[in-house]
Assembly symmetry: C2
């Protein structure tokens, strides 16, 4: 990564993409042009980005890696693209790694200069907040569904809906809601039943008269690995 101090180039890029009106003068003062060579990393999964990148030249590859080392290619982004904005706006850790495929140039804006917008246009700000939040959750959902088998997704889901009820009253799910569960984790009811059966044999859950009761959270955690649904939000109880 190389920083390039060249306001002229930045302004040229901005006009190339018709963004002159988008960035007010005070914000432009803080823009920095970055150059990345092929294979260089712009954003690293698991870290917290400080800089929001506007891709103006070249092509980057966005992918995520599971704990087990499996990778999932999310997409290729080309100009005009925004990179790392979701995590940056939220201050949450990066879900994906982004590396340059070709030589790449981006305009970077440090997140500290974004915060001033917290006050301005509260309604737009609210929309942006909600949408980035949903985006983050959907990203997790996408990778999770594609990278893990039903067994893991189901264990993880059961954990997420039983977490609130502590040791005392173990969480239970009624049958009609089990059908929704199957649908939510993207599998057939039949197959979910099969997996549920194995959970029963293992003593993780008990099935009785149309209800499912979680008995052994620890056991489920073993199956789910550390891939718990990050947040119950957007994944509400059925």
């Amino acid at each position: 990564m190389k920083e390039i101090i060249d306001m002229i180039r930045i302004n040229r890029y901005l006009s190339e993409f018709g963004l002159e009106e988008v960035f007010p003068e005070p914000l432009r003062q803080h823009m920095i042009l970055y150059r990345f060579e092929p294979d260089e990393t712009l954003i690293l999964q698991g870290e917290e980005s400080q800089i929001l990148f506007l891709l103006v030249q070249g092509k980057v590859k966005v992918y995520t890696t599971s704990i087990e080392g499996k990778t999932l290619l999310i997409n290729f982004t080309t100009p005009l693209g925004l990179i790392g904005e979701i995590e940056c706006l939220k201050g949450w850790e990066n879900l994906n790694t982004v590396t340059a495929v070709s030589a790449v140039e981006t305009i970077g804006i440090h997140k500290r200069w974004l915060s001033q917008y917290r006050e301005e246009a509260p309604f737009l700000r609210f929309l942006l907040d909600m949408v980035t939040h949903k985006f983050y959750l959907k990203s997790i959902s996408l990778s999770f569904n594609l990278l893990y088998p039903v067994e893991v997704r189901l264990a993880s889901y059961l954990l997420s809906i039983s977490s609130e009820d502590q040791n005392e009253i173990q969480a239970s799910v009624s049958v009609s809601k089990l059908k929704d569960t199957a649908n939510l984790i993207g599998t057939s009811y039949r197959h979910m039943n099969r997996v549920l059966q194995s959970f029963c044999s293992a003593g993780f859950v008990v099935r009785r008269s149309g209800t499912l009761v979680v008995k052994d959270r620890q056991g489920l955690i073993t199956v789910a690995g550390r891939n718990i649904y990050e947040s119950a939000e957007g994944r509400e109880h059925l």
Copy 2:
């Protein structure tokens, strides 16, 4: 769906969720409280929504249905949640259907009242635009990956990267990029090869010296059904 004209209730909801500051007075004038009974539809897949809903009471179910009739439950949303904002802001057709699970109350804002924000805070507006766009594409990607087998996804992908080259120069993909392709559609290279082999036998594509050439777009269309990647954007050529 029942419209309730009750500014007091609306204001009470807004204060319940700490949104007094978020909605300026002129916008509040246009807010309408809606009530939905269980199983009523708030948003219908394929249509174009005119109203953005703020879920303030009850629970809704968000799901998508494929052309073949398979459904995929996206999530359950509870207050405070935003519904239909992505499509509404973009003016694009709804990707999902939203129905009430319990009795539901929402605050609705017609999209025409949002347009005035086009001028205000251009930078925030730009961010919101980019993020909603990415969200829309990711939603498609999620449903598509979960609802269709590799055969369909691959056919669809090959179509999306060969569409520009018309009859003349048929699109071709080099091998290194084929590996990325497998990764992008979320399968193993081995399995993609298997499917590719069947495409070869069918005469849809030809493989020679490490490249793949699309020969019969129409044939691929048959396999892909009408499930073409909506837009090449965000799904750039490998």
